[in-house]
Symmetry: none
Subunit: 204 residues, 2 copies
DNA sequence: CAACCTATTTATAAAGT
DNA sequence: TACTTTATAAATAGGTT
């Protein structure tokens, strides 16, 4: 959204990339906060910049959400039974390749596309048209689905959430960590603030 | 955004809340995917619906991001030293306090929370095969929805990301969790697909 | 560089089918 | 119930300060 439409592919210009990263990350956190408040949901967002900086949003707190997720993850069965769906979807995926191939050609006609080398350029000779049809539909649907004041909102998010940047370089790690019960406050980091935007031109 | 502006506060109407939750979650995942692709970032998003269902997005995978985050979290010091909260942010925070007071009062007036029992709270213990059937039907339907513009981005997101819904009820939790090394694949959950969208009143 | 502009693109609240 | 359409609110790409 903006003055000009951009393709969803990696931004080349370093500077633009930095600006976009900052803006979009902020926007992402805001959206997450809105979702939480509007729907009474709870969410956590973790973002690693290309420069390995970590940015985190959480409501009511990132650690709470992650812990909950991990706990659930490790102690319960997934909703969808294992191999069955996997196989089905995988087949759909393969079927999709052909569809995508078709799509790519269509788009090439329209205008300058990327220079190629995408995963969907994979061979599709073995696929049934019917299957391709199906998966295209699947993708279409997914695209659709997946497809007051800013300040007030932001403030609420800040108050009830954690938005902190962790950026200690990996090299400095030590092994004294505690997994659960790690406490941001213990590090002197107040909850509810986002230190994480902007680029310093070093870590990123 | 929409026909009418809405306040960022918990949606009262159950139905609207459901719709909004679905839309916003989808939008959130999409934004996260865009951020990853545009900026070469990596991100994970975990969302718990009010009904405790978990929806996850991850690029390249949620578990990878979370694991990375936890390691970093527990083994390093935060980059930003304690009290160095930017003055600006702190000021905003204080301002927000006042606003929140007002907001709370307004919300109290309105009152009326959900009585629980959202569609996404539907029990899933017994789904098994039946569920598979639904999923299959779901994919079939997708096909018919074929619009004509599957953005490359969406496909990239799909193939390189994880968007899965976990819905095992919290009551089944036990305390034997393993923090690291949990493996989505081990549960038969393929990366790159979102089973969790759509509302049929049963599965989604 | 961090904020601040807007022209446009996106997202989405409601209403429609 | 599910999907589509439409009007509007939001987000944001590229500039400007």
């Amino acid at each position: 959204m903006g003055r000009q439409k951009i393709q969803i592919k990696k931004i080349e210009k370093k500077n633009s990339l930095e600006v976009t990263f900052s803006k979009c990350r902020t926007g992402l956190f805001k959206k997450a906060g809105e979702l939480c408040i509007l729907c009474g949901a709870e969410a956590a967002v973790i973002v690693f910049s290309p420069g390995r900086r970590a940015f985190v949003f959480g409501h009511p707190s990132a650690d709470a959400i992650i812990d909950r997720f991990l706990h659930r993850e490790t102690n319960s069965r997934a909703l969808v039974p294992a191999g069955q769906v996997h196989g089905y979807v995988q087949r759909q995926y393969l079927e999709a390749l052909g569809r995508l191939e078709v799509k790519r050609e269509q788009e090439e006609t329209v205008g300058g596309d990327e220079e190629g080398g995408f995963w969907w350029d994979a061979p599709i000779e073995n696929m049934g048209l019917n299957e391709l049809e199906q998966f295209r539909g699947f993708l279409e649907k997914l695209r659709k689905k997946v497809a007051d004041r800013v300040e007030e909102m932001t403030m609420i998010m800040m108050m009830e959430s954690v938005m902190v940047e962790y950026a200690a370089p990996p090299q400095e790690y030590n092994s004294s960590g505690v997994l659960h019960g790690y406490d941001l406050a213990a590090h002197g980091i107040p909850h509810g603030f986002d230190f994480g935007f902007g680029f310093d031109g070093h870590l990123f």
